[in-house]
Amino acid sequence: MKPSTVLIVDDDQNIRELISVNLRSAGYAVMVAADGKDAMELLGSAAVDLIILDIMMPDIDGWELCKWIRDEPRLEGVKILMLTAKGTDRDKLIGREIFKADDYMTKPFEIDLLQQTVSRLLNG
C-alpha cells in the first residue's frame, strides 16, 4: 500500500524537521514548504493527503492558504491540520468553522499527540 503523503507548511525550519523526522519514522511520505507560496507551488504538482499548516507565516498566512486549499476543487478531500501558537478558543473556532480545517493543534505540541491526530485524520 502506498504510504500517505503529508505536507508540512511552517516557516520555522526546526519545526519542519521535527515533524518530518517523526512522521517519516512512522511510515509517511513527507514534503515540506517554508511558506505559503512554496506550498501552493508544491500542491500544483504533487498529490497530498494531509497538510499540516502553521498559521503565523509571513506574506501568505495559514488562514489564507487554508482558504485557498478549500477553494481549489482539485484538492477536495485533502485533510488540513492547523498547527499554531495561537491557542485561544476563538482561533480554534475560526480555524474549524470558517476556514474548514479538519483539526487544530496548538504549539507546543506533544509529538505523540500529533502522531495520533495525523493517523486519525488519514484513516478516517
Partner: protein, 501 residues
C-alpha cells in the same frame, strides 16, 4: 372709520376735548339762556316805558281836547299817533266802557274788554294798554292803545341770533384753542412716549427735554433717570457678559485642551493595549516556537533511534532554541524592569571605543552586509554599565544588518561633542517610514515594513536600548530619509556623571 373715532374718543386728547367740549357747551347754554331772559326783560321793560311815555303824552293831549270837546282835534291826534311806528290802533273809550272812537273802524261801537293785556303772555302781535283820561279830577274815559310787538320781537330775535352766532363762534374758538392747548400740554407726553420707545429699542443715551416743575417734569426726570440706570445696568451687564463669555471661552478652551489630552492619552492607551495584546500573542508565539523545538526534539531523541550525526544536530537545535528562549525571557525581564523603574546599572568606567569594536567583531563575521568601524582608537572615558551598553550596540547593528542589502556597508562612527560621545550606526536600507518614526522606540512596536513582517522579533530591542541609554543620562534617536537608509544615534555624557546604584 368707527375705530378711528373710537381711538380719538379713547385717546387722552379726545377725553380732554370731550371734557372741554361738554364744559363749554354747558356754559354756553347757560349763557344763552341767561341772555334770552335778560334781553327779553330788558327789551320789554324799555318798551313798556316807551308805551307809558307815549300813552301819558297822548292822554294829556287828548284829555285837553276832550275837556274842550274838540273831537276833531282828538281824531287828528289819534290819526297822527296811529301813524307812529309800532302803534297799530288807538281807541277812545267812554267812561261807560264803550268804544267812542277808534282808529280802526272795526273796534267802533264795540264793547272792548277793558283790561291791559299782559305783555309776556301775549299770543297775538298786539299789546293793548288802557290809560285813564283824567282832566282836573274829571273822569273823561279811557284811551286804549294797541302797540305792535313785531319790531320788539324782531329786535329780540336779532339779538338772540347775534348771541347765538357769537356763542357758536366762541365755542369753536374755545375748541380750537383747547385743541391747541391739549396738543401743547400733551407734547411733552408724546415726546416721552418717543423717548421711552427709543429706550425700549436700546438707545439709553436719549433724554426727554422737559423742564416744567410739575408732574410731567417729574415724569420726564424719572424717565431720564430710568434711561440712565438702564444704560448703566446694560453696560454693566455687557461687561459681565463679556467677562463671562471670556471665562466661558477660556474654560471651553481648557476643556477642549483637556478633552484633546484625554483623547490623546486614550488613543495612546488603546494603542498600548493593542500593542500589548499583539505582544502577548507575539510572546506566546515567540516563546512557544523554541519550546516546541526543545520539547519535540527531546522527545524525538528519546523515542527514535537516530544516527549520531542527526542526534548531535538535534541536540544543537535544542541548545540554540534554549538560548533563544533564554534571550527572549531576558528581554522581557529587561523591559519590565525599565517599565517599573527598577533597572539597575553597574557604575563602572567604560572604554566606549573598545566596547564598540568588541560588539562589532562577532557580528562582522556573520554573512550579510559588511561592517566598517570608524571609531578612534580611544574615546573619552564614560561611566556606565558595560554589558548593557554593548547590548545596545549589538541590537542597533543587528537591526542595521536586518535592513541592509547584503552588498551594502554598515558604518559605525563616533565623535566627541559637548561633553558627550555620540555613536552613529548607518545603514543603506530602505529607511524608516514617516508613519513609523514616532513610535520607533515604543515598546512592542514593530515596523510596518516587509523586513519586520519577515523576521521575528519581540518589538522590544529599541525600547530596551532607549531605556538603557536614558538610564545613562543619554539620548537615542534615528535619522532617516526613506529610500536612503537610516542612521541610529545615541549620545552618552562624559565621565563626571555618576549613576545611582
Amino acid at each position: 372709520m368707527k375705530s378711528a373715532l373710537s381711538n380719538i374718543l379713547h385717546s387722552y386728547k379726545g377725553k380732554w376735548l370731550i371734557a372741554i367740549f361738554s364744559l363749554c357747551l354747558g356754559v354756553f347754554l347757560l349763557l344763552i339762556a341767561d341772555r334770552i331772559v335778560l334781553t327779553r326783560q330788558f327789551i320789554y321793560e324799555r318798551e313798556i316805558q316807551r308805551i307809558d311815555h307815549v300813552g301819558g303824552l297822548l292822554t294829556n293831549f287828548i284829555g285837553d281836547n276832550l275837556f274842550d270837546n274838540d273831537t276833531n282835534d282828538v281824531r287828528k291826534i289819534i290819526a297822527t299817533a296811529t301813524e307812529q311806528p309800532d302803534i297799530t290802533v288807538i281807541s277812545l273809550i267812554t267812561p261807560a266802557r264803550t268804544v267812542r272812537y277808534s282808529s280802526d273802524p272795526a273796534f267802533e261801537k264795540k264793547t272792548t274788554p277793558f283790561a291791559d293785556s299782559k305783555i309776556n303772555k301775549l299770543t297775538n302781535d298786539i299789546f293793548y294798554k288802557t290809560f285813564p283820561i283824567a282832566y282836573k279830577n274829571a273822569n273823561l274815559g279811557f284811551l286804549q292803545i294797541g302797540f305792535s310787538l313785531h319790531s320788539i320781537r324782531q329786535h329780540l330775535s336779532i339779538s338772540l341770533y347775534r348771541v347765538f352766532i357769537l356763542e357758536v363762534v366762541l365755542f369753536f374758538a374755545v375748541l380750537f384753542i383747547a385743541w391747541g392747548i391739549t396738543g401743547r400740554l400733551l407734547k411733552p407726553l408724546y415726546e416721552m412716549k418717543e423717548v421711552s420707545n427709543k429706550i425700549a429699542g436700546g438707545n439709553f443715551s436719549i433724554r426727554a427735554h422737559s423742564t416744567s416743575h410739575d408732574i410731567i417734569g417729574d415724569l420726564a426726570a424719572a424717565l431720564n433717570n430710568m434711561a440712565l440706570q438702564l444704560g448703566d445696568l446694560t453696560d454693566n451687564m455687557k461687561i459681565r457678559i463679556q467677562e463671562a463669555t471670556g471665562d466661558l471661552l477660556f474654560s471651553n478652551n481648557q476643556l477642549l485642551n483637556k478633552s484633546r489630552e484625554l483623547e490623546e492619552s486614550n488613543r495612546k492607551l488603546k494603542e498600548l493595549d493593542r500593542l500589548k495584546s499583539d505582544f502577548v500573542s507575539m510572546v506566546s508565539h515567540e516563546l512557544k516556537t523554541p519550546l516546541t523545538s526543545i520539547i519535540g526534539f527531546s522527545r524525538t531523541l528519546l523515542t527514535l533511534d537516530l544516527p549520531v550525526g542527526q542526534t548531535r544536530n538535534y541536540l544543537g537545535i535544542i541548545e540554540s532554541e534554549g538560548k533563544r528562549l533564554s534571550g527572549l525571557i531576558e528581554e522581557y525581564l529587561d523591559i519590565s524592569k525599565i517599565e517599573a523603574g527598577e533597572f539597575s546599572l553597574k557604575n563602572e568606567p567604560v572604554d566606549l571605543a573598545a566596547l564598540i569594536r568588541e560588539a562589532a567583531e562577532p557580528l562582522s563575521l556573520d554573512a550579510g552586509p559588511a561592517l566598517r568601524v570608524e571609531v578612534p582608537a580611544a574615546l573619552p572615558p564614560i561611566t556606565g554599565d558595560r554589558e548593557h551598553l554593548k547590548q545596545v550596540v549589538i541590537n542597533l547593528v543587528d537591526n542595521a544588518k536586518k535592513y541592509s542589502p547584503p552588498s551594502e556597508e554598515i558604518v559605525i562612527s563616533s565623535e566627541e561633542l559637548d561633553h558627550a560621545v555620540i555613536v552613529r550606526i548607518k545603514d543603506n536600507g530602505p529607511g524608516i517610514k514617516e508613519c513609523d518614526r514616532e513610535k520607533l522606540f515604543d515598546k512592542f512596536f514593530r515596523g510596518s515594513d516587509p523586513v519586520a513582517a519577515r523576521t521575528r522579533g519581540s518589538g522590544l530591542g529599541l525600547a530596551i536600548a532607549k531605556g538603557i541609554i536614558e538610564a545613562h543620562g543619554g539620548s537615542i534617536w534615528a535619522e532617516s530619509v526613506p529610500g536612503k537608509g537610516s542612521v541610529f544615534c545615541f549620545r552618552l555624557p562624559l565621565s563626571e556623571r555618576s549613576f545611582p546604584p
